[in-house]
């Protein structure tokens, strides 16, 4: 492990800030409309090429739509879809995790079996079929992603809850006659917040990639919305003649996910020393060697599935 710096990392920080600002002020920033093109000005290459035009810095696509403007507006879609999907999945997962961890017993056994099953599904495959069959739309993309994502939250939050439950202040609250709901709200939830923040950040990148994949395959955000995945798919037929249509939205996506992932790694290292060992992406990457660390008998294999799910994320 390299030495951990305590300053906020400037590179991902700057990119994320730029991204959020771009998404917010998109209408003022974009030189053209993202959806209306001028067909007489189609397939113009970027400015630094011979036929380039200052009017369209990153060129235009086959309908004459400005690639730069579409990328700028596309940031809204990527951010909105991933944030809403993660919010829904995070809320559901956290709720399940809290109840499961705090209650124990039958509820715990039932909810955790459900979580195990959720974690074991081939996410991309199921997502493709779910959205395809239910007509591509923003709502469906978000719902499907959220539905497939919540178990990741549930498992980690449950683990965290189990640990916090054993603390003295919880026991005191019980003795003082506080209700379970009160204890969960006032004692457990605030203490799982750091973990929740880390998981959330680590999932944002994955969700952006998943949304991009679905849109690319034609079962995600419907056209003519300027989703990055859709733009990349648009340029597929023009790779030989108009490479810029696919190249730039992909770069935007790569930078965004890269920044989010680096930020997630940094947060994990700072907010949650435990996750460094057994959770998050570190678990995935340094899997089998760290698998046994800090896990009781019978728990380690769950990690195999976590690795499975995460490795698939990349495809």
């Amino acid at each position: 492990m390299p030495a951990v710096s305590h300053r906020l990392p400037w590179f991902p920080g700057a990119i994320l800030l730029a991204l959020v600002v771009t998404a917010i002020v998109a209408p003022y920033l974009a030189p053209h409309s993202p959806t209306d093109g001028d067909i007489t000005r189609k397939l113009i290459p970027p400015i630094w090429t011979e036929r380039g035009d200052w009017e369209h810095p990153l060129g235009t696509d086959r309908f004459g739509r400005d690639v730069l403007s579409r990328i700028i507006y596309g940031s809204r879609i990527s951010l909105a879809v991933s944030l809403v999907a993660i919010f829904v999945a995070g809320t559901l997962g956290t709720l399940v995790g809290l109840v499961s961890g705090y209650r124990g017993g039958f509820a715990d056994a039932f909810l955790m079996r459900l979580t195990d099953i959720g974690l074991s599904l081939p996410i991309i495959l199921i997502a493709v079929v779910m959205v395809a069959v239910s007509e591509p739309s923003f709502r469906n993309v978000i719902l499907v992603i959220a539905l497939l994502l919540w178990p990741r939250f549930a498992r980690q939050i449950r683990g965290e809850t189990l640990a916090i439950k054993e603390q003295d202040f919880v026991a005191l609250a019980v003795v003082a006659g506080r209700s379970s709901a009160w204890i969960i709200r006032r004692h457990i939830f605030p203490n799982v917040m750091p973990t929740l923040l880390v998981i959330t950040t680590l999932q944002v990148g994955f969700v952006i990639l998943l949304e991009g994949t679905l849109s690319f395959l034609g079962v995600g955000v419907p056209p003519p919305n300027p989703a990055w995945g859709l733009m990349i798919a648009d340029g597929r037929g023009f790779l030989a003649t108009a490479w810029w249509i696919s190249l730039f939205p992909g770069l935007a996506m790569l930078l965004t996910v890269l920044a989010v992932n680096l930020m997630g790694d940094w947060l994990r290292d700072h907010l949650d020393p435990k996750l460094r060992q057994v959770g998050g992406r570190a678990e995935v990457l340094e899997a089998p060697t760290t698998a046994a660390v800090g896990r009781g008998p019978g728990e380690a294999p769950a990690h195999g599935r976590a690795a499975a799910g995460a490795a698939v994320d990349g495809n």
């Binding site: 599904l121 991309i124 990349i232 340094e286 380690a300 698939v312 495809n315």
Partner: protein, 307 residues
């Protein structure tokens, strides 16, 4: 151990049942297949006959039971478009998917293991930082975009590799790399950490004290001991490639199962979609099960639990 084994087996079966149910619900939600099958001029009577023939006039729970029972005996029905048994369509495509997955696994081990070893040996050096960048990029890059850029560079600009389709060994390189990049990054990190652990051990120090050649120490004493987790992981990867095949196969026009599923979604040939998803999911779940069992067998903590 036995208890764990049975529990894990039951869970896999349950997961499979969930997949089966999801697919059932989705295909029933997706509109009336009768209208898809018949042309516009079909009469009311035609519709009724076909509905009855397909068993769609029965209550939903009954349909579900029939559906599951058919799957258990391996009967997936006929394709709506070609009228041939779905099983035939699936079998035609399985070899291509398995081939691609196998080569991708091989490639990611081939890239990941040596790079990981080197960054462990030269810890903190140029190679190590390079490998880190390689790994981080691999996690952040959309696979479909990487595939297109590879086609652009090697297929269009350089013109040295075919842009798609299946045939020669050359056709395999780009899709296998696209599929294997992310995982080679994972293998790299894994090899690195395993290797670092092994290199710090006493027997490596002893081998060096004995005056063995450094290469012998690294490859024979070091790698051999570090390789176990890597190999287990590689098996797991192969399975995941099957699940992730949809994207890569689409980009490279690779005639595998994933592409079949996507094509069938476009043509609304739902029997094929159902069967394809079930087969891929079954492969995926079985693979995960095998790896879990292997892990638990290799990990004494679990092997002896419950004795």
């Amino acid at each position: 151990m036995a208890r764990y084994l049975i529990g894990r087996l039951a869970q896999t079966l349950l997961s499979m049942l969930v997949v089966v149910s999801i697919v059932f619900v989705l295909t029933r939600l997706s509109g009336n297949p009768v209208l898809l099958l018949l042309d516009v001029n079909a009469t009311q009577r035609d519709q009724e006959i076909l509905t009855h023939h397909l068993g769609l006039d029965k209550p939903l729970p009954v349909q579900y039971v029939i559906y599951v029972a058919n799957i258990v005996v391996g009967d997936f029905g006929n394709s709506i478009i070609s009228r041939r048994p779905v099983v035939e369509h699936i079998w035609e495509r399985v070899p291509a998917t398995v081939e691609l997955g196998f080569v991708a696994m091989f490639l990611s081990v081939l890239i990941g293991v040596p790079l990981g070893m080197y960054s462990a040996v030269r810890r903190g050096g140029m190679m190590d930082s390079g490998a880190r960048v390689f790994a981080v990029l691999g996690q952040s890059m959309p696979a479909f975009w990487l595939g297109l850029m590879l086609i652009l560079f090697f297929g269009v600009v350089l013109g040295v590799l075919p842009a798609g389709g299946r045939g020669t060994v050359w056709h395999l390189i780009l899709p296998a790399f696209t599929l294997g990049y992310f995982t080679s990054a994972a293998i790299l990190r894994l090899t690195r950490s395993a290797m670092l652990e092994v290199l710090g051990s006493d027997y490596i120090k002893f081998a060096r004290l004995k005056g063995l050649h450094e290469q012998v120490v690294l490859w024979k004493h070091g790698l051999r001991n570090a390789l176990l987790p890597v190999v287990t992981f590689a098996v797991l990867l192969f399975v995941q490639f099957l699940g992730g095949a949809v994207v890569t196969e689409t980009v490279f026009a690779w005639p595998g199962l994933g592409r079949l599923i996507l094509e069938s979604i476009t043509t609304r040939d739902y029997p094929i979609v159902q069967a394809g998803v079930l087969v891929l999911s079954a492969l995926y779940l079985t693979g995960n099960l095998c790896v879990d069992l292997l892990y638990s067998y290799l990990n004494p903590k679990i092997r002896h639990a419950g004795r």
